[in-house]
């Protein structure tokens, strides 16, 4: 979406909502991509669920499904307006003209759309859903469900929506600065990753971490989830072209190649370090590569996209060591994969961005002879997004901890969130586990 704004619309002044001339091909493509992006959240649920212990698996899935419900509502009520309405001041946040989606079908301020604006609303809604669901990997196995619901509802409005405005809205200050973020390296990956780190620091570690082994209970589930994410990511990135043309084709190819590069990079390093190439490594590396290409998909040629994936696979695997060094229990490595991968990708735009791929690239990347200009803009995006998402989420987390509380009791944590939070058990694999009496 920002790509198209760059490509077609010179940055327009506030309060201008261009008329929409609907192209059926573009509309069909973005509708398909919208469905693909929706698929990513259940995919993420399975990706994460396989990595937790069997007593927490339903709670893990439930948090992602709850994000679909919660963020869909907050988005149509107020989030979309704060992200995409005409600027309310300083490029920091949108206004309230589109609250409740009033006037939303007329167009999106500053963006020359060839699809019905309501398709754009839904496409962006599902980005907001997925970004919130990403948080759950860091806070796994210890949050009360009620507190999680409140956290996500507030977070999607006060943290996600402003950051989306900064980079995705043509009025946003990072967009006006010239940050190139094709599909959300800052907005989705770094925003969720930095917020995840803040939440982990507020929550504290899972009981027993890192002394106890907390191994994944069902890696086939994780690999299934990674596969669904990979498919969905084509829609996430190539759909962000908002047109069904060469830009979408280029973004789709770059996305796939970076996922491949991530898998290769991660597995090669893992094999060298531990002697084994693991299935969890294959899934994690692919996701790391897909994360890193998210800001870059519509700006890079194919081979640089492959390289970005390899670099992300290697760097993200090393980044997992940080949590053991600094003793923060980022349970499923949201910081190492999404934050670090997002930073890698966002900076790589400043190295590899090519005008031949996208005319929105006004300063080519450093490695294409464009100098440091674009890299500097990318760095500003990295620093600003990191600082705001971390600080705002930290404050939100502390306020909720002091008021409604965030963690389950020790007994509930030991028993598992499935029974303590949802009164269910995921797997009834033995006869004895199903012996019981009905209370009517």
């Amino acid at each position: 979406m920002p790509a198209l704004a760059h490509a077609v619309a010179p940055v327009l002044t506030a309060t201008s909502t261009p008329p929409v001339h609907v192209d059926t091909g573009d509309t069909a493509w973005v509708l398909v991509c919208t469905a693909l992006v929706l698929l990513m959240t259940p995919g993420l649920a399975f990706f994460y669920a396989g990595m937790v212990r069997s007593k927490h698996v339903l709670a893990m899935i439930m948090q992602s499904f709850a994000c679909i419900a919660i963020v869909s509502v907050t988005w149509v009520l107020v989030g979309y307006s704060l992200a995409f309405d005409d600027d309310a001041g300083g490029g920091l946040v949108g206004g309230l003209h589109l609250v409740g989606l009033a006037h939303a079908s007329a167009g999106v301020p500053g963006i020359n759309l060839t699809i019905p604006p309501l398709v754009f609303v839904l496409f962006q809604l599902l980005f907001a859903v997925l970004t919130a669901a990403l948080l759950t990997g860091a806070t796994a196995d210890r949050m009360r469900f009620e507190s999680f619901v409140v956290l996500v509802a507030v977070w999607s409005v006060v943290v996600y929506a402003p950051v989306a405005h900064w980079a995705f809205s043509p009025d946003g200050w990072l967009h006006r600065l010239g940050l190139l973020d094709f599909a959300g390296g800052t907005v989705v990956e770094m925003c969720s990753g930095a917020s995840a780190l803040a939440l982990v620091l507020v929550l504290g570690p899972r009981r027993g971490w890192p002394r106890e082994m907390m191994a994944p209970h069902n890696l086939p589930l994780t690999l299934l989830g990674a596969g669904l994410l990979w498919v969905g990511w084509i829609g996430f990135n190539a759909g962000s072209a908002l047109t069904a043309g060469s830009l979408a084709a280029s973004a789709a190819l770059a996305t796939h190649l970076s996922g491949v590069g991530g898998m290769i990079g991660w597995l090669a390093l893992e094999k060298k370090l531990t002697g084994k190439a693991t299935t969890l490594g294959a899934a994690s590396g692919a996701v790391a590569g897909l994360v890193a290409i998210t800001p870059a998909a519509g700006f890079l040629q194919p081979l640089p996209a492959l390289a970005v994936g390899v670099v992300a696979g290697v760097v993200c695997l090393f980044a997992i060591r940080l949590k053991f060094r600094f003793r923060y229990d980022d349970s499923l490595d949201v910081v190492a994969v999404h934050y670090v991968g997002g930073v890698v990708g966002t900076l790589c735009v400043g190295l590899f961005a090519a005008t031949v791929v996208n005319p929105a690239v006004t300063h080519q990347g450093l490695f294409l002879g464009g100098g440091l200009e674009q890299l500097g803009k990318q760095l500003v995006g990295v620093l600003a997004t990191s600082a705001f998402a971390f600080a705002a989420t930290y404050v939100l987390g502390r306020v909720l901890r002091a008021t409604i509380g965030l963690r389950v009791t020790a007994d509930d944590e030991h028993a598992g969130l499935d029974t303590s939070q949802h009164a269910e058990t995921a797997y009834e694999l033995t006869t004895t586990s199903t012996i019981g009496r009905s209370h009517g």
Binding site: M213, A215, T278, L280, G281, S284, I320, D333
Partner: protein, 112 residues
């Protein structure tokens, strides 16, 4: 009557069962168990972090036999399950006071 209990490598169970048939053993109870002895566990690697898994999966076989059949049954189990490497398991024998077949009410040796 005697209860013979054997902790064995999982893949040994089929052969043990076949070896006991000719001795008149027509029933046994088998369970999945985990434990540790002199045999070490194994290492698992998740995202570069290595974990030592100490408990080893084993199979527990329980067989009720007449007093005078116990020695032959134990001998057949040991003979069949032995590989000579650490981790082959253990077999022990306990005295049993009474046995009742639920379906018929038969007691003692007739219930075995």
């Amino acid at each position: 009557m005697r209860l013979v209990t054997a902790i064995l490598r999982p893949h040994a169970v089929d052969d043990v069962r076949a070896a006991l048939e000719p001795l008149g053993v027509h029933g046994m109870t088998v369970s999945d168990v985990h434990g540790y002895g002199r045999q070490g566990g194994h290492t698992e690697v998740y995202r570069g972090a290595e974990y030592r898994v100490d408990l080893v999966p084993k199979i527990r076989v329980e067989v009720l036999v007449d007093d005078d059949a116990a020695d032959a049954v134990v001998g057949a189990i040991v003979e069949t399950a032995r590989t000579g490497r650490i981790g082959d398991g253990k077999v022990w024998v306990q005295a049993v006071d009474e046995v009742v077949r639920v379906r018929t009410g038969e007691v003692g040796a007739a219930a075995i």
